[in-house]
């Protein structure tokens, strides 16, 4: 089976899972206590007004009709209307999405850039101080709740030494890029494109604000990948093909990276695929610590005020991103390991 067909099949499976997600999200409202009308209608609303609100929202129709309409709406890109904010739910959610993506990507970059070399060093200098240090770091790293780590980083880096801001995201990454290329995005307008100086300034501000949140979210993954890389490298370096590669005269760097590390990364990617949920969940709580205006803070505040369209929209976007990420991981896995026959 070719990679294309494999992706097609995973895509179809993904669509089924997304449909399941949508259904669960829809049903969530019916299994939750509290009448949605209560959160919209004024406290002294007359029964007549309440009835009219319910009718307006379609809440008095049979469940299956509401479900069908909900699905139909989603297919049109309509995720409902948030009365509390007076905006389309999709507009609110997609305005928040870049912040969460930036955070998750920055954390992943931090993790990969630190963890892979650390794991390799740890495996190739077994029982030396560097190995013990890396092992201790990875043990503590996977055991530390990231909200606490975030608070500790704020305490040390922001409160004590005033190196980084404690919270907020004044500019987005795309705004920085907007100084180079003309792109359309939601946000404050910027000057004409191709302003390198403004680009560097904006990027600097962005980096300055995202450093602590990215470290907070990235530490668990750095620790996990270090651990996996170390044990995988130890496994691979003991295999006969490594000796064979040395016997043909390859320098040790080639043996390590081109041979052993390549095969180590295959299982590492599998485990990371399983851990994507932790990345997204971690992003939610990191956002809460740093008041980062992403999907996580949106979800929490929407739950607190029972803003149903927003709750549903953010859950669906989270679920769909998760499914897409999983397909991407599978494709990456398949491209690294030639033995996968895409089954």
């Amino acid at each position: 089976m070719s990679l294309g067909r494999f992706l097609l099949r995973r895509g179809v499976q993904g669509i089924l899972v997304v449909w399941g997600v949508v259904t669960v999200v829809f049903l969530l409202r019916f299994i939750s206590p509290g009448d949605p009308v209560n959160f919209i209608a004024p406290l002294d609303a007359s029964p007549e007004l309440r009835r009219r609100i319910a009718e307006e929202l379609g809440l008095n129709r049979p469940m299956y009709v509401q479900y069908a309409e909900y699905l139909a709406g989603l297919l049109r890109g309509d995720m409902g209307f948030s009365f509390l904010r007076g905006q389309e739910a999709s507009a609110v959610v997609f305005a928040r999405l870049p912040a969460t993506i930036e955070l998750a990507v920055a954390a992943s970059v931090v993790a990969v850039v630190i963890a892979i070399p650390l794991g390799v060093i740890s495996a190739t200098r077994r029982h030396q101080p560097a190995d013990y240090g890396a092992t201790l770091f990875s043990l503590v790293g996977i055991s530390t709740p990231n909200f606490w780590l975030g608070i500790m980083l704020i305490l040390v880096a922001a409160v004590q030494f005033n190196l980084f801001p404690t919270s907020q995201r004044p500019v987005g990454f795309l705004e920085a890029v907007g100084h180079l290329v003309a792109i359309e995005f939601a946000g404050p307008s910027v000057a004409a494109p191709l302003d390198v100086r403004a680009f560097a300034d904006t990027l600097g501000t962005w980096l300055w604000h995202i450093t602590l949140p990215a470290l907070t979210l990235g530490t668990y993954f750095t620790a996990l990948i270090t651990r996996l890389t170390r044990s995988g490298m130890l496994d691979e370096l003991g295999k006969p093909y490594v000796d064979a590669a040395r016997a043909k005269g390859l320098p040790e760097t080639l043996v390590r990276y081109r041979h052993a590390l390549r095969n180590t990364l295959i299982p590492v990617i599998t485990v990371l695929g399983l851990q994507l949920g932790t990345l997204i969940g971690g992003a939610v709580i990191t956002e809460a610590v740093f008041a980062w205006p992403g999907l996580g803070t949106l979800l929490i505040s929407s739950i607190n005020v029972r803003d149903w369209p927003l709750i549903q929209a953010s859950l669906i976007v989270i679920g769909v991103s998760f499914v897409l990420l999983n397909i991407a991981v599978d494709a990456l896995y398949a491209s690294l390991d030639p033995r996968v026959d895409y089954e």
């Binding site: 899972v17 043990l139 909200f147 608070i151």
Partner: protein
């Protein structure tokens, strides 16, 4: 179900590995703190004491601006002065912003964490093993159906799902009387321990899928093993085969996974408490959330419970490594921390 060989492996690994010993020591320490919290705690963890608020832990001191008003020559004068606040031995880890003893809260917090961790895992194991064994043993439509449900469950990050469920269902909690207080051994302590019931149910609901996967895998592989075919050919019923053959073989991987999941659930519980989605009144996550507002003046309020979480989770993870190295079941790690 635990063979002599398994016990030998466990002992040998424990003897050789310093990390395994450290793990056992940490977990014993946390268990001890949780069980005997009412006897160990110097103060009632819920009792406020405004006069002794924001005391630093032993070995530290802070300064604090105090405003006092005095009658001087018939006029009220407001005096603002900088006062040095010293630690006191009766509050070794200091006090929080309303004067509650941090050490006592850390000790009692261990109860919530461990109770949620153990009860939640037990519930998840029960649910996951039943579903997984059924799916793996009967295969076909049953398997397909159950595994599609599992896929949808896995499409939600566990923390997100837990927030959604608890946020929407409310925060029910169950109070159980504390035996030490009942017996009159610790009269000044809170009368009951509060278990955040919704949290227990929700963490089990978001984590059972990992157990279902492992149990299903074991059931699939054992089902086709020759001795099971042999058992069936002599007329053993499905129920007997599952009980006698499939279940015992699944014990090791599930035990290892359960250990890691207890750690994961403790982290999940602390995250939920931190966000305010819990029902517990004594929880490390809750204390961290409260201490967060006083970072600039009283760093210890948020720091101490965090150290307690790290130590407990490190201990449990080390025990997980120990079991995995000694028993070598080859399981996925499952979703880890937060």
């Amino acid at each position: 179900m635990v063979s002599d060989r398994t016990k030998r492996n466990l002992k040998a690994e424990l003897r050789e590995s310093a990390l395994a010993k450290l793990g056992v020591a940490l977990v014993v320490l946390v268990l001890f703190a949780a069980v005997f919290a009412p006897l160990l705690a110097p103060h009632d963890p819920t009792a406020t004491d405004p006069k002794n608020a924001s005391l630093p832990p032993l070995g530290f001191s802070t300064t604090e601006n105090r405003t006092t008003s005095q009658m001087v020559d018939g006029e009220i004068q407001v005096v603002e002065e900088e006062v040095q606040v010293n630690a006191t031995a009766s509050h070794p880890l200091g006090t929080d912003s309303v004067g509650r003893d941090v050490l006592s809260r850390v000790l009692f917090g261990a109860r919530t964490s461990l109770l949620v961790g153990i009860l939640g895992t037990a519930l998840a194991v029960a649910l996951g093993v039943v579903v997984g064994l059924t799916a793996g043993y009967y295969r076909g439509r049953v398997d397909d159906g159950l595994m599609r449900v599992a896929d949808v469950m896995l499409a939600f990050p566990s923390l997100v799902l837990a927030i959604a469920l608890i946020g929407l269902w409310g925060r029910q909690s169950i109070a159980i009387p504390d035996p030490f207080v009942r017996l009159g051994l610790a009269p000044e302590m809170p009368e009951s321990a509060v278990i955040p019931g919704t949290v227990v149910v929700v963490v089990a609901l978001v984590n059972w899928v990992w157990f279902a996967r492992v149990a299903r895998g074991e059931a699939l592989s054992i089902r086709s093993a020759e001795y099971v075919t042999a058992a069936r050919s002599i007329g053993a019923s499905d129920r007997t085969i599952i009980r006698e053959h499939v279940l015992p073989n699944s014990v090791t991987p599930i035990l290892v996974l359960a250990t890691i999941q207890i750690a994961a659930i403790i982290l999940l519980e602390s995250a939920l408490s931190f966000l305010g989605f819990s029902g517990a009144n004594l929880s490390w996550g809750l204390d961290i959330a409260q201490g967060r507002d006083y970072l600039a003046s009283s760093w210890w309020i948020a720091t101490m419970p965090g150290i307690a979480i790290v130590l407990s989770v490190v201990g449990i993870n080390l025990i997980g490594d120990w079991l995995r190295d000694a028993l070598d079941p080859g399981v996925d790690q499952g979703e880890g921390g937060v």
